[in-house]
Amino acid sequence: MADERENIIEEREKKLNDERQKIETFSDFGNIYNFKNDFTYSYKTDAGLTPEIVREISEKKHEPQWMLDFRLKSLDLFYRMKFPTWGPDISELDMDNIVTYVRPNSQMQGKWEDVPEDIKDTFDRLGIPEAEKTSLAGVGAQYDSEVVYHSIQDELVEQGVIYTDFDTALEKYEDVVKAHFMKLVPPSDHKFAALHGAVWSGGSFVYVPAGVDVSIPLQSYFRLNAPGAGQFEHTMIIVEKGAKVHFIEGCSAPKYNVANLHAGCVELFVGDDATLTYSTIENWSKNMYNLNTKRAIVGKNGTINWVTGSFGSHTSCLYPMSILQGEGAHCEFTGVTFAGAGQYLDTGSKVVHNAPHTSSNINSKSISKGGGVSIYRGCVVINPRAEGAKANVSCESLMLDEQSQSDTIPAIVVKNDNIDLGHEASIGRISDEAIFYLMSRGLSEDEARAMLVRGFVEPVSKALPLEYAVEMNNLINLELKGSLK
């Protein structure tokens, strides 16, 4: 019920606010995600990138030979490939200073009690164990390079659902992994995909058998605690024919003065008539280079839903891609990007229509303030085979002040005539008329602005599960705080 939801959102927001105020009293960052744990680890590689380091990672993980070969081949590609000629400036990112592998001081556990106190404390503060109890069917938690916790409800296991960390998957389901691993995002795709292929570690593996409807979401939470490190988790989700699942990923990290790098890879295989919802609330710290690659391939009458909120990172390049391969496949993308001071967030969505009667609907909102740069970069390609395809793109950008920047860079390529394509974009600020209207009902200017911004991102918060809608509202309030006089 909508009203209950509203009620709960309000209560949770209040609680989070109190929590935040508490934290603010002992931290001057004013960010609940910013607490740091002492940096402890059981093993880490040296900074930089050499075949020796790659061999070391593979050896520590007791991987099969084909995976080591794959890593070395990817590394070779990484050396040879050029950096992108477009997009944000990543020259400050010095690969020689990034630690590619940090094994946390813990083995993978199935019970929170067994997770070391300092790591558990982190996830407690992020509310993960509590969320698991109340609203999730399965949880994975990654700390630096490895997953420290994984669990899934027994009844799902009985139905054949697999949700596990990637190392376990490689061990237990080697054939499936080998058949799919980096097939959708080959290392040759771009330089950071090659990097990922060479040094990936951690991540989640999900398999939903045909016809199974996983009604409660699964969630993986990624926490990067080590300074100067990279996180390269690999997420693979296979949803068989007619199955349904909602997967949520959350990301955060404390802020350090050195650059951290996130170059994860997400490969989603959505079968015929299957539905996958992939939600992300990304709140990496503002020293993070988030160069993540996400891609889905969708079978006949299948659906991929992307819901993303991008709030964190110093620099982001993130364009979840949907390949609509089967007839009638559908993609829905709902995203909001909020760039504050010092942030350069280049995000968007890519859709390729490869089959008849495929459809896509992209709805993107971006906000920039305090000198932040937010960019919508997207593409829609309708190939000759995709007769009767429908694509709709809407991008709205909101500038909250005159120091910021907001660009819209869409590209649309249509290669057959039997299609229907609409694209709209607008850029501007909150209108004085709207503020006056709200103030004439008694709201202060700050309240009026905050309300209009919340209304602006409503389509995204509506698409999120309750807990995440709360978290997102909270992040927005956090971002708006201080910017409004």
Partner: protein, 247 residues
Amino acid sequence: MSELLRVEGLHVAVEGKEILKGLDITINTGETHVIMGSNGAGKSTLFNAIMGNPKYVVTAGKIFFEGQDITEAPVNERAKAGIFMAFQQPIAVQGISVENFIRNAKSTVSGEQQRIMPFRKKLHKQMEQLRMDRSYAERYVNDGFSGGERKKTEILQMCMLEPKLTMLDEIDSGLDVDAVRIVSETVERYHNETNSILVITHHSEILQNLKPDFVHVLIDGKIVKTGDASLIQVIEANGYDAFRGQA
């Protein structure tokens, strides 16, 4: 009866152009006033100036509300003091539901946090009286509303926010006969000896229910004639030209 609003020698300019040129009006608690006048005479300007729209610059004169000088007060303070304007062209607020919006506004204006369930009950009751479908409460404020729906939503806000002074800026424009009746009945039901109504209209239908105590004729930025309800017939019969000489 005590004085609620007093406007003294008000001059107002919009984008550098003077629209009101020394306007005086006093409204006591419990009264209903009507302002009539041709297009461009300055009626909406007066409302916006009383509400405190920053685009409408007061170049001379003062506005008092309950004896307090509010000429410089920001718009939201005026709303909190009990002034309400039903906009001629209400703004759409995407992403915010009507209910959520009014509840927020009510909490701010009244200074009391509105609890969801009792508030909703009251809202639904008012919506029923306005013959508005309940589903409107969950729609975004004015987003995709027809002209008539927007006007009804304005009146709904009035009912919920319970202002001391309600200004209706052509609330009857774009409404069909039934809607005019529903709206005017709702306003009349709301109106009592503790609040006042100020109306701008071009049509006399709405005034049949509202029963004005005073009618003002506004020509070229000034009130040129004030009388009782009988003045309406004079205007209907002769138009505004008869008053122009008096400006």
